[in-house]
Assembly symmetry: C2
Homo-oligomer: 585 residues x 2
């Protein structure tokens, strides 16, 4: 591919010089560049293919960075990056790693925020507008938000707030009729009516929020988009430009199977098939199978997701089988957790499955709506781990510092698949307290030690009894604990005590009181930020005792796509380093 | 007052037996009972006086607890409590303490949840409905939500989700045209249009969310309400009943000054004047004055609140003077924090002021929208303390375990008013990191030691230099630290080291390394739950060193209206107990 036009676009100014036909050619080249990158290293697919024309028109009409764009989630900004000096990262394989998957001010002055969570664009942009106004600056502020993101509380709060602003503010609603999976929520009926009526139906969600409104049916037609954007440029009040686009536009498979092609792993362009094999046992498949079985036997079980069923192996087929015992609330984590509290109150067995990074949205709901009411909600956290870490926007290593300190919440960290299953069984059967279960991330292991069925009493499991040194290795760091024990035993010829704490949310005081009679050093290992986590509870409890405590976990910082082995080495979480530390304390 | 009818209402069944005129008499008696309690011990005033007729009509038409009511915030449930067997707590002064200020399942089977935060009713009730349906139960589910609560993200997520439900669900929108202060947000224009048109205007927010809708203009007319509720009882799909009520109905002062009378301190019924004097210097007044002064000098400063300006001394007069440098986003904490990030990005100096309990809503926004972007947002937390604690629904002792573990967030704990002012100045001047400042709660003290101006480097302040024992006393527990040091010095004739850590979010390693050379015991004191807080960071850092660490803070549990001295005693946070512990370790 030659990229005749794209290669000469060094910034938005170069877009403005192009003729209408050249803009159309540019769109084709951008799609080729998208193919080049995603076929080889994967990435968000459907969102980027759908927004090519919108992005071109935005940069054609507005003057970034004087005019400021805030892309919601920012996973649809590959075309934006190409038009703002970063095309190399898509057309030249050597430069793939120059850019991250989201907007990032460190990369470019055209990126306003480093983000990756949904539903934030309107609120963030409202701040840009307020800052602009109090400082007497000029320029347009434009939030670009997908239909899927509209159901999030922060987005709805933002729309409502902006509806009262008396200043320039433009909200581009990029409506491709799809969230990650299908959309859920009453407002999507209104979007459909708006699309069907060309924006002229009786009720209008956006007008009801106090916003001006216009509709563009041809959301992949550059000329129509340019006309619409010119109309709203420099507008003196908040307005919505509702645009109807085609998700995955330009790749028939992606246009048809929109959920499968929201994100793509490396694939063959001809066939659409993955280049690598991702089948095989995983905690997602174990979970999905187990829950199907449970629901078949017990109609009070309800599995809830907030728009990310795929994370938990809940394919369209599995969801279909679960019927009304499966609920996708759309992107609306607060709704998900509060609803689970109500389900439990009325005798149901709710389980909310999400990722650790998105669980950050429900701190208040887990505290007030759930735990204060002692309602037995189960929350399952995927990716609460340094393993498989990606961008800092999605890292899940704060799960323990966030949730293990909330009164009444029992936080369980299984070390293998049998224990995972037993904890899941326990959590759904009891009706006394909320439970959070952190899914292991370092592959699927089988139990080597006995697995308990009952987790009512907070007790740690002593797996190996030794002396002098005890290692408390939590969750998927149990394997590191095993390796470390073995390493130390080889070095010292003395047996090390190995403990599976199971509970991240509390201290087994009885066991620790016993341990310190025969041990000089207690080591804790956890797959999370050290501050506020598991190990510090142990150090605090033993602070006044005659024993040394060494806590291992991560630093309190935003790790950004750092490979797990590098972090482990940095934080001295290796058998060698741990032994070194023990020896010198 | 005789309470002829109310005294015979032992439960909802007794309400159903009354004639129309008796129901009207009952309303008058309920208002008398409200006066009896609120004049003497205070409480939420306007919300309860406004909802008397709605509550009577609900219990007349529906069959609680088979039909389930979920009151949003639940601060308007005094009439509900009176009609469900708890009238004594309002008419008999001896029984005032029988009930808390919110619904609570421990009190009555007619209360579904123990809640106190806004905007949760629709989501919680959606769970009740889902639980009912999967278990094949019968009955109506009714969420009762005020107009002010509608702007909250959880409420909007809930409305949207329910708009897709295909089952019985009733949402009573109790519209008294007022939040705590005035309403803010575009949707309130729509509510106004709906009221003005008798529910018949072109756009309808609720219909745009997929909900059925009807309007009742006379929201304080029992007969009209009974008719409306009978119409929707056993409905087979979700519907809104939008009711127009008068906040503070029945007390002219409260009808006129709705913000002042949202919550009342004990008052004289004739004059409306407080029985006690609440004037005098407070951190609220100090803050309001300081910010007025700042804004006068610097137009880039923006003070933001989410509907609770009164907490921070931001009276209508102060707000008026602040002009466009003051923003009330309505009940919408996520919007507030994300907006602040945008303001900072564009060069403004945003400060969000809230209470610790409501800050639970912005964990994700402080992490992703703010800190990951290194935007210099200041968040000021009132009531992050055991002092002045009320119901468990509003306790703020989790502030440190929540926020001191987020990467990049600097959490400052001033010990007196000069330090508070200096930290505020610093925070607004720098543009490198978000700052959280916990306002002291144990009265207003003046500085006895030098106050720093610059908090760029994390360093603790050594106030008194001693040996053997060092006390690190954080924030408003510094006074306890001082007392404890003096007590120990009296007992041991040995000088104690007294430290003001200032930073709750990190460890001054250099100082601690130095300290342990001459000290055997390090004591930490903090006004918060111990787990995940300040002291455990110290215990962890010193875990491998030859020194004892004693952490003092609160247990991880939901303290419910326990007086501070009781908690302090329970947690051994007194000079005597601390000395006892030091002596025995």
């Amino acid at each position: 591919m030659e990229y005749r036009i794209l290669k000469n676009v060094k910034g938005p100014a170069d877009v403005k010089k192009l003729s209408e036909s050249e803009l159309v050619e540019l769109a084709a080249e951008i799609r080729e560049a998208l193919f080049n990158r995603t076929t080889k290293i994967g990435g968000h697919f459907g969102p980027n293919f759908g927004i090519v024309e919108v992005t071109i028109a935005l940069h054609y009409v507005f003057e970034s960075p004087k005019d400021q764009f805030v892309f919601d989630v920012a996973h649809q900004t590959y075309p934006h990056k190409m038009l703002t000096g970063r095309a190399q990262a898509y057309i030249d394989d050597e430069h793939f790693r120059d850019v991250c998957g989201f907007t990032n001010p460190v990369e470019s002055e055209h990126d306003m925020f480093y983000i990756g969570h949904t539903s934030t664009s309107v609120s963030l942009a409202s701040g840009l507008a307020k800052g602009r106004d109090v400082l007497g600056k000029k320029g347009n502020v434009v939030a670009i938000i997908g239909d899927g993101s509209l159901s999030g509380g922060e987005a709805l709060e933002g729309l409502d707030f902006v509806g009262e602003m008396d200043t320039n503010f433009i909200i581009v609603v990029n409506d491709n009729e799809q969230s990650i999976a299908e959309n859920h929520g009453g407002l999507y009926k209104n979007l459909e009516e708006l699309r069907n009526s060309g924006g002229k139906c009786e009720n209008n969600l956006f007008r009801a929020m106090g916003l001006d409104y216009r509709y563009v049916e041809e959301g992949n037609n550059i000329a129509a988009l340019i006309e619409a954007f010119k109309e709203v440029k420099d507008i003196n009040h908040p307005t919505v430009v509702h645009i109807h686009t085609q998700k995955g536009k330009g790749y028939p498979l992606a246009e048809k199977y929109r959920e499968d092609w929201h994100y793509a792993m490396p694939f063959d362009r001809e066939t659409g098939k993955h280049l690598h094999d991702y089948s095989g046992e995983s905690y997602s498949s174990i979970f999905a199978e187990k829950m199907l079985d449970k629901i078949e036997k017990d109609k009070s079980v309800v599995v809830v997701t907030a728009a990310i069923p795929g994370v938990a192996g809940l394919s369209q087929e599995v969801r279909g089988k679960m019927g009304r015992n499966y609920v996708d609330v759309g992107i609306a984590e607060e709704q998900a957790v509060a609803m689970c509290s109500g389900i439990a109150k009325n005798g149901g067995k709710p389980l909310f499955v999400t990722t650790a990074t998105f669980a950050q949205r429900v701190y208040d709901q887990m505290t007030q709506d759930v735990s204060l009411n002692s309602n037995a909600v189960t929350m399952l956290l995927f990716s609460a781990s340094i393993y498989g870490m990606g961008d800092a926007t999605h890292i899940g290593i704060s799960a323990m510092s966030m949730f293990t300190n909330i009164p009444g919440v029992v936080f369980l960290s299984p070390t293998n698949k049998e224990e995972f299953g037993a904890m899941l069984d326990y959590s759904l059967e009891q009706n006394e307290h909320p439970t959070i279960i952190a899914v292991p991330n370092d592959g699927v292991n089988s139990a080597e030690y006995e697995v308990a069925r009952d987790y009512r009493k907070l007790t740690y499991q002593v797996c190996e009894k030794g002396e002098k040194i005890a290692i408390l290795a939590l969750g998927d760091f149990f394997a590191i604990g095993q390796k470390t024990a073995k390493y130390i035993e080889d070095k010292t010829s003395s047996k090390v005590t190995l403990i599976n704490p199971r509970f991240a949310s509390g201290v087994d005081k009885e066991l620790l009181d016993e341990l310190i009679k025969t041990h000089d050093v207690i080591v804790t290992l956890e797959d999370g930020i050290l501050e506020g986590g598991f190990g510090q509870k142990i150090a605090s409890y033993l602070g006044s005792k005659d024993v040394k405590v060494l806590n291992y976990g991560f630093e309190k910082k935003f790790y950004d796509a750092v490979p797990a082995p590098v972090v482990l080495e940095e934080c001295r979480i290796t058998p060698e380093k741990i032994f070194e530390d023990i020896s010198s304390c």
